[in-house]
Amino acid sequence: MDILHNLAFGFEHALTLQNLFYCALGCTIGTMVGLLPGLGPLATISLLLPLTYSIPTSSALIMLAGIYYGAQYGDSVSAITMKIPHAASIVACIDGYAMTLKGQTGLALFTAGVSSFIGGTVAIVVLAALAPSLGEVALLFGPADYCALMLLGFICVSVVTTGSVINGLAMCLIGVLLGQIGTDLETGTPRFTFGAQFLVDGVSLVSVALGCFGIAEITKNLDEKSERTPFNGKIHLIPTWPEFKRIWPSALRGSVAGSILGILPGGGPTIAQFAAYAIDKKVSKYRHEIGTGSIEGVAGQAAADEAAARTSFIPLMSIGIPENAVMALMMAAFIIKGIQPGPNMIAKHPDLFWGLVASMWIGNCFLLIINVPLVRIWLSVFKIPYSVLFPSILFFCCIGTFSVNNNLEDIYVTAAFGFLGYVMMRLALDPAPLMLGFILGPMLEENFRRAMLLSRGSFTVFVTRPISATLLGVILVLFIAQLVLMLRARGASRAGGPVAASERDTIVASPESARN
């Protein structure tokens, strides 16, 4: 009953005209971005983050959350109609595009839209039920436990996003080191500033995000020179009753898988889609059709994608630790707005928390309208040539950077990070873990120093505390698993002849690296 009461309280806040407007705006922008080639939720949230400074806190967060899950919806549309693999829609390309080839585009879009709605709805129930109780668990965490949790997050993100623990972890550490630039909060010593005044406050988050995800992505897309053919096929949206009956079992399975995987460190929509697809291939009544353009192949992954996008807010809002790069940016948005995500957030700002949860369901309804009946309008977005798009995105990067401090010279820093991001992309180093490291770096340092102070300089505090010891144990197991997989891959490559290093690096299937 408490949940219902809290949700009613949340809807009271989310259903104001202002919040409805920003929720719809976020969903619309997110969908558009999801459709566009070369721009993901990370780049869009980075671009729009400075513009939310003048928007009230709850509306700004509702809008940014709308952009995130809106982009997940939009992704599947481009994947189904044109087989454009974005970060979050690689699985949708398989059966979704196969359905398009069979002339069932409308059915695939309807399935994706309705399944995403089901996934989003299930995830909101999970979020409302679990986040407050997880927040209570988080109160048991000490500095050493927080350190271990952040390290686990680094390892999981490294494995999931880059496929190579070494590359991913290296990027996390570079992010942590970049976060060291500026004044040391404990002693007041300026570090790595080289006498430059503009570095005393540290490197701006917006500069790092826009450089690494905006400018670097643009340059990479320009290198690829790929031309997109707009979708011109016919769309019949309404399915028959037998077709409709095939959607919901898969969507429910995907919702459960997505809700669970969204909560785990390093988890999120991409891995959830793969898991849901694999589950459907094992247990679905129509498993023999999956891979050839079946409803189940679209429904399960779409529901998992959307569910995971929403439940990934749970660790952020209840423990205060983001589990992936998008959530790290969301955390930055919370902090900019003066809200510290963590165990006390729900108690201190119930209106914000429950308002955000309720707005997700409202956003779900908006997205269903935007993506199912209005899908034809969105497909015209593809007709905008990239040569028109990219100068505009660069302009928005400049304005976004400028608006933080009203300082044009900050654009030099963004440009420098754009160059750095491009170099890293060319070296097959994914910038997403860097972002997580950059945002968590100062927090990691603070907790590490505090843990060391409390234990009088003894590292044993990390293994004597049960939570920390368990988390470090999980890290050890992950490392051993990676090592075993690497040795197996080595053995297989020796048996099958020389393999390129990049292939050998890819220990785990790396869906997100497909966009780099």
Binding site: L169, Q180, T187, T189, F390, C398, L427, L453, R504
Partner: protein, 140 residues
Amino acid sequence: MLNQNLVRGLFLAAVALFFGLGALRYPIGNLSRTGPGLFPLLVSGFLLVLAIATLVKSRLVQAVPLEFSVAKIALIMFGLCGFVLISQHVSMLLAIVFMVFIVSYAGTAPSWKRNLAISAVLAVIAYGFQRFLGLNLKLI
């Protein structure tokens, strides 16, 4: 042709050394009373270990050629730096036109008509930001 794996290892080592040597300039303290240099030194140390592992691995696995297009990223950097300089010393409207024209050469088939149209739209958007969002843009 440069080996991507080798360059990656060198890049990581350079970053680790830059921050690691830089950290030595600050008080290190001890583990119970850490100074501002200790944490970056520890992190740089870990990064250096990963860099060495990458370098060793690059010798063991087949080389991957490094693809790097200097022209496009250079044009974009030039466009962005020009945007700042012209905005500071002349006006942002001119800076928009300059940036659009310069960066368009990084794309395919630049056209001055299209560039003018994009510049005009962006100028209107910039005006909107100044007028309605209160951004302090020096348009003229």
